[in-house]
């Protein structure tokens, strides 16, 4: 039924209309970009509202290419919320960098459409095209300050490594098609069920896994992460650390459970190995960073390691429970990490070119700008996973499920490395509040409305989900259930 097919992509269509409208109205605007921001936020919040209105539907659309289910809606809401927060935190920052133009908003919206479709896709073809929609928009966003060498270099590294690994992944997809004769997840499962899991299937699945491991910034495919995050605009770095990563996890969970359950043990082991490597690399390299933005990049690698432990546990135990905890972790992490990058963007827009995100310049921040200091401390504490914050609840659920899957040793490694991470997270708090600044950097203006709203929402979500994870958990379990129907 064609009408029903279109209904399944209405949330994306709303964002698409907003993005196109931005590109159309932008040339007619004077210096003020409030209208662009308003259109973008209207599109994203409209998309969230419509998605929530479609909850409970279970529709297969476009000949099995994509589904509209609670699973897809969970991610649609998460991505649109993350995008809206990023935009709220961007406006001042772009203004201070004298590069406040509409393409930024449009590209971000296009990336969100790609991510939405990745989560909704039930076919390798749609998954690949939407992944590239997300990736190509991301390359351009990383290069957004095109007169700056750092931004260029960041984007180039992202593009080269990104298209190299996606070509490897595509080779894997072509081998999957060769084995199964189909690209639909369910059809692949159906075709592979009869055959023994041979080396050809495992090679194909591993190649696909490598492409996705790159997108979630797993070691040993993490080399691009610190450089890209350092050179990209700060709110965009925050967006990269949560959006594309969550989208890639949605595909890892959906495609591997639905498409390759026969090889669950093999890909489970692969993800467990990647998880250990990633946790080690992320945490150990983060220890020696003196630049807070780079430290957060390595920290996002470390968090990808924890998440991969959940994915590995899911493959190993052949049960969806660890996967559900991955979703709760993704939801919490989205808000915490966007908040942390948002504070950095605020500082950069206030202090100006002199601010290079180094730990040294953060000294005494707690006194000069108490709000920024308190908020950044909250996010750091939450990233560490100290009780009373969303970060603790997320880690508690995730490592709990890893233990449940009889991988106690993996959970022990994760918890020990989380303890190590306290050193580099809490160092930021100590420097901000207990160290005398070497040079006075003036923080002139107050926080603007958008920035204050963005940081307020992230802080609220960080604290609130620490006390009321019940409804979130229920909706995640419901969403995961729709994956198999």
């Amino acid at each position: 039924m064609p009408g029903g097919d279109v209904l399944a992509i209405v949330p994306e269509l709303i964002i698409l209309v907003a993005a196109s409208a931005i590109l159309l109205i932008e040339p007619f605007l004077k210096a003020d970009r409030t209208a662009v921001m308003a259109v973008a936020l209207t599109g994203l919040f409209g998309s969230i509202a419509v998605s929530l209105g479609l909850l409970g539907q279970n529709r297969v659309a476009f000949a099995g290419m994509l589904v509209l289910s609670d699973w897809a809606i969970f991610f649609k809401v998460l991505f649109a919320a993350g995008g809206a927060l990023t935009l709220m935190m961007s406006s001042d920052y772009l203004e201070s960098q004298r590069r406040h133009i509409g393409e930024y908003y449009a590209l971000l919206l296009f990336a969100i459409i790609g991510m939405d479709l990745m989560a909704a896709a039930r076919d390798l073809m749609l998954f690949y095209v939407s992944l590239e929609l997300m990736a190509i928009s991301s390359y351009l966003l990383a290069a957004f300050f095109r007169y700056r060498v750092r931004s260029n270099e960041s984007s180039l590294k992202y593009l080269l490594t990104g298209s190299f690994t996606s070509a490897i992944m595509l080779y894997g997809i072509s081998l999957v098609y060769g084995q199964a004769g189909a690209t639909n997840y369910a059809a692949i499962e159906n075709a592979l069920r009869g055959q023994a899991t041979g080396s050809g299937t495992i090679l194909a699945v591993f190649l696909v896994a490598i492409g996705l491991a790159f997108k979630v910034s797993s070691a040993p495919f993490h080399m691009w992460v610190p450089d890209v995050y350092e050179g990209a605009p700060t709110p965009i770095a925050g967006f990269f650390s949560v959006g594309p990563k969550a989208a890639a996890f949605s595909v890892i969970l959906a495609a591997f459970i639905v498409g390759f359950p026969g090889a669950a043990e093999q890909w489970g082991i692969l993800f467990i190995v990647l998880s250990i490597l990633t946790m080690l690399v992320g945490n150990l390299f983060a220890l020696v960073q003196t630049n807070v933005k780079r430290m957060l990049a390595y920290s996002s690698i470390a968090h990808a390691g924890y998440l991969l432990a959940g994915v590995g546990a899911m493959g190993w135990s052949k049960n969806s429970y660890p996967g559900e905890t991955v979703l709760i972790y993704l939801a919490a992490y989205t808000f915490i990490n966007l908040g942390a990058f948002g504070v950095l963007a605020f500082l950069k827009s206030q202090v100006g070119a002199k601010f290079d995100y180094s730990l040294k310049q953060m000294a005494g921040l707690g006194r000069r700008s108490p709000w920024a200091g308190v908020l950044l401390s909250l996010f750091m504490i939450s990233l560490t996973g100290i009780p009373g914050t969303a970060g603790f609840i997320a880690k508690f659920y995730l490592f709990g499920s890893v233990v449940w899957a009889n991988l106690v040793w993996l959970a022990v490694i994760g918890v020990l490395l989380s303890a190590v991470s306290a050193y580099y997270y809490l160092r930021v708090v100590i420097v901000m509040f207990f160290k005398e600044p070497e040079e006075e950097l003036s923080i002139s203006g107050p926080m603007s409305g958008g920035m204050a709203a963005g940081l307020g929402i992230t802080a609220f979500a960080t604290l609130r989900s620490a006390f009321f994870p019940g409804w979130l958990w229920d909706s995640i379990v419901r969403a995961f259930g729709t994956l198999f129907s």
């Binding site: 070509a167 080779y171 098609y177 690209t183």
Partner: protein, 108 residues
């Protein structure tokens, strides 16, 4: 795997060998060359190896999914090349070189 269809004059493994050889040429090119353009060419080579695979398998399975996929792959490859060249232009304006090992402003 199903046996090769009777009306397929070239067996499917020949496609696989050629595509694997092309793909490895591309991988080696990406890993060893220093010039940005050659690296972009090598990535194109990898994607075209995939296209060959898809077309071969499409013939083998006697369905059109693979050939549909090739159309999408080609469009994506073109978009990627366009963005890659745009970034190369911006970078060349700032640095006057296209040797990727010289782009090392950020380390650690």
């Amino acid at each position: 795997m199903a046996p090769t269809p009777a009306d397929m004059p070239i067996p499917v493994d020949w496609y696989l060998y050629l595509s694997a050889a092309l793909f490895m040429t591309g991988v080696v090119g990406v890993l060893t060359r220093r010039n940005l353009f050659i690296i972009l060419f090598s990535i194109e080579l990898m994607m075209n190896a995939v296209n060959l695979n898809l077309v071969g398998f499409s013939r083998f399975h006697e369905n059109l999914t693979g050939q549909n996929f090739v159309l999408f792959t080609m469009v994506v490859a073109a978009a990627e090349a366009a963005v890659g060249l745009a970034i190369a232009t911006a970078l060349f304006r700032n640095r006057q070189t296209l040797m990727v090992d010289l782009f090392d402003r950020m380390k650690g």
